[in-house]
Subunit: 119 residues, 2 copies
DNA sequence: ATGGCACCTGGAGCGCACTCCAGGTCAACC
DNA sequence: GGTTGACCTGGAGTGCGCTCCAGGTGCCAT
């Protein structure tokens, strides 16, 4: 059962130490284990969960919804259908984002071509 | 030479009236023409420019950089190479965004599959 | 001429997601 | 035993991009 120091988790997840503390404070992370000196010692599970958080965050999910997802996970196995629903809805938003970006990108390409044509 | 009322521009561009005023105030939009009563009358050109703004904004360009682009446009034809450079750099960021989203999306898909498998 | 509506201004306020700070603890190494 | 460095806490501050508000003007239809 490996544990991680704060510095290791910062390294692994790319979140800042302040962000990790903030996530714990708002309940996005369950209270993290402490050593005798009161310093955080993250579990493998914490780090895995942070990977999920990073994925959701980087795809634009608001914290409020990540909190909802966190609650479902804590509530136990019977919430799996709800979790699927939440992730599928999010997936649709991600797909929409990608489609939108792709469309905008082609506009940018056209603009670049136009600029090249008038040089 | 068609002109547009604020309400029409809101309708066309999807920006709120407050946002349009804000963009004008910070100089993202050049001072808009006014009628005798002091109300804004947007030109075709304004609306076209707002289309560009929407594209850049929706692809995540910060306002500071849009301002820089606006300055280049105002400065005249000789800035076209700079504009191309700016747009190409932005294009690379957009491509990176799309790639990142696509990768994250596959993580979400795996998670959904996993949840389905344990049902 | 009265009411309603679209619009005006300057400036304050907001929501999000952090980020920073002051002051403190503890362990380890020179 | 002194210093360094990683970590702790509660709470204040930040940056971005709007968004809202109060108070006012002018036009138009009833």
């Amino acid at each position: 059962m490996s544990v991680y120091t704060p510095a290791e988790v910062v390294e692994e997840t790319g979140f800042s130490l302040d962000t990790l503390r903030y996530y714990e404070k708002i309940g996005l992370l369950e209270p993290v284990e402490r050593n005798a000196a009161g310093q955080r010692r993250f579990s493998q599970e914490d780090v895995g969960w942070l990977g999920m958080i990073r994925c959701l965050r980087d795809t634009g999910m608001p914290i409020a919804q990540m909190l909802r997802f966190a609650e479902l996970v804590r509530a136990g196995e019977h919430t799996i259908p709800d979790r699927i629903e939440l992730l599928e809805e999010h997936d649709r938003r991600v797909a929409a984002q990608i489609a939108n970006l792709t469309e905008r990108q082609s506009y940018i390409h056209h603009k670049i071509s136009y600029y090249r044509s008038v040089l």
